[in-house]
Symmetry: C2
Subunit: 338 residues, 2 copies
């Protein structure tokens, strides 16, 4: 292939992204010069955060520019290099774009990875990557779980949620997972060893709150929140004193054009002297090797299972991305580019 296929953001989505918010174009392969190098992207991570980057709103990263490829963490191999630190064929992980080839400027986020440590290079985008490490550092460093505590996880069948549930069990906590539908709920128990699975489908905040209260009469010590909205509101009504709420994602809100819901029951934070922590993995980048090694060890010992949902072909990016919002993916959603 002599061309670079690129999946561009051509218009800022309003609410749910539409196919014509994007365009797939072909351009020449970039040339490495002056310390830069070119990465042949093999896998790209598809994450809810990308929806946020498509808005022109204050965030921890600048919005994706119109006409730029959709920003994504990718795993790939160095294709050409004008940087002595990166040789052709080296495997790298970095914040690039959804495109065949990314030009990487010197001093960026891209780092070399040792794929021998991993069952597949794609694992650096799932269990051993930002997703697994979000669960790991979010739960352990922010949540500080103690043996015997109760941990409530929303989006529990998802990539982050399933990692959190399994790590909480390893830390000898009681785990309650919330997911949508009986199939996912069954997987919470069979695949991720949650103690209790709650199906949120068709339930009001009041009904969901009552169901949590039934299975956690003493309240929930840690809430690992991936969803937001009604589910977060129900969780807030069931906090144990001094509970920690880890706000990792609010996926139910990312496509709301008509205004945010937020959390209606934050008054319970006062009543329970609880805290809510906005969590981003970025602070923990210097500790990725440590966390990744621990997760690799647990995988090797059979104590942790990582599921991936790999969609092939850059031409399928839009439909793959939409799975994140329909709840259609089973495991970490990854685009296989080449």
């Amino acid at each position: 292939m002599n061309l670079n296929r690129r999946f561009l953001l051509s218009r800022r989505p309003i609410g749910t992204p539409r196919p014509d918010d994007f365009s797939l174009v072909q351009t020449p392969i970039p040339q490495a010069a002056d310390g830069s190098f070119v990465v042949r992207n093999r896998y790209a991570s598809l994450d809810p955060a990308q929806r946020g980057w498509m808005d022109d709103a204050p965030s921890y990263m600048p919005p994706i520019k119109l006409g730029d490829p959709v920003r994504a963490t990718t795993v790939g191999q160095v294709h050409s290099s004008a940087n002595p630190g990166f040789a052709i064929g080296d495997w790298v992980l970095g914040l690039n774009g959804i495109e065949d080839y990314s030009l990487v400027a010197p001093g960026g986020f891209t780092q070399k990875i040792d794929i021998a440590r991993s069952p597949s290079p794609s694992y650096f985008l799932s269990g051993m990557g930002a997703v697994g490490l979000t669960g790991y550092f979010g739960l352990i460093e922010v949540g500080k779980p103690r043996r015997g505590e109760t941990v409530l996880v929303s989006g529990a069948a998802g990539a982050v949620g399933s990692a959190v549930g399994q790590i909480a069990k390893i830390k000898e906590c009681r785990t309650i997972g919330i997911a949508g539908g009986p199939v996912k709920c069954k997987r919470l128990i069979s695949d991720y060893h949650f103690d209790v699975a709650i199906d949120y489908h068709g339930k009001s905040v009041t009904a969901l709150s009552a169901e949590i209260a039934t299975v956690a009469p003493g309240g929930v010590d840690i809430v690992f929140e991936n969803v937001g909205g009604d589910i977060l509101d129900a969780a807030l009504m069931n906090l144990a004193p001094k509970a920690r709420v880890i706000l990792c994602g609010l996926i139910c809100e990312y496509n709301c054009a008509e205004g945010k819901i937020g959390a209606r029951n934050i008054w319970q934070l006062i009543v329970k002297q609880a805290t809510m922590h906005g969590f981003l993995i970025m602070d923990y980048v210097p500790r990725f090797a440590e966390g990744g090694a621990q997760i690799a060890r647990w995988i090797g010992e059979g104590r942790m299972r990582i599921d991936e949902d790999i969609v092939e072909g850059i031409e399928n990016t839009y439909s793959a991305f939409m799975k994140l919002f329909s709840g259609g993916n089973q495991g970490k959603l990854i685009l296989k580019i080449a």
Copy 2:
């Protein structure tokens, strides 16, 4: 006086309390026996939290029982005693009721106070009491202000807010106060030495958010939230990275019969890796003497000013209490019972 006037909760308010949710009755003065003692209440604290205790909802304290006096922190003197630790005439601070005389069971919250330390016994309900100490411990222990940081205070002309603003200045922070109306805003600058005063009256979340952004272009490091609703939403849009939001009160919500608003912009906690802390003073009861002494020192040095709004007469309890919600009080609202 041979009778005990008592201000009872006779019906649970729906939304804003109404006069006939309460009744003022006269009963005989209680008798001390078996380790109990009777306190002649002189001052009672009127606080937003009392509105919460009137609801039959999960909280950090049981709801006030129908037919019981409205629970209040009071300062008074021992009237009769069957407890060797409390002699007639001793000044005491305790969680009692809005009534002339309270019977105090052994082992309760009531403690003796040294009124010589204080300009007036009522100060144990204001600057040197839970209100001043809420500002003190909330700001210092939870907010952990560092020199040069920006502190945003809502309800800034109120009893807690004005204490927070002054302590933040003592800690060499830049202070922005939000209050309703030009009179209060003027007092923020002249009486409490805020660097900036913002009048929220008639402003949308967007307008308020833009105004905060103008005066704090680098964001706000600490939000001390006494109000909630639109004001909290605007504050959340202006967080500095790693900001701390101290959730002390949500007074704009306490009378909402039609459902809570909460915080619509909590997604900004993730973006800014910020935390929101539900704060109650109860944990700090063992450190009250330390905090009270520090505040008394600042008052003595002229570095801190405490304002009280003292309403006389138990028969005026209802109208006095309603001032909390209309914003009519200037300084800590206290009922003088005798």
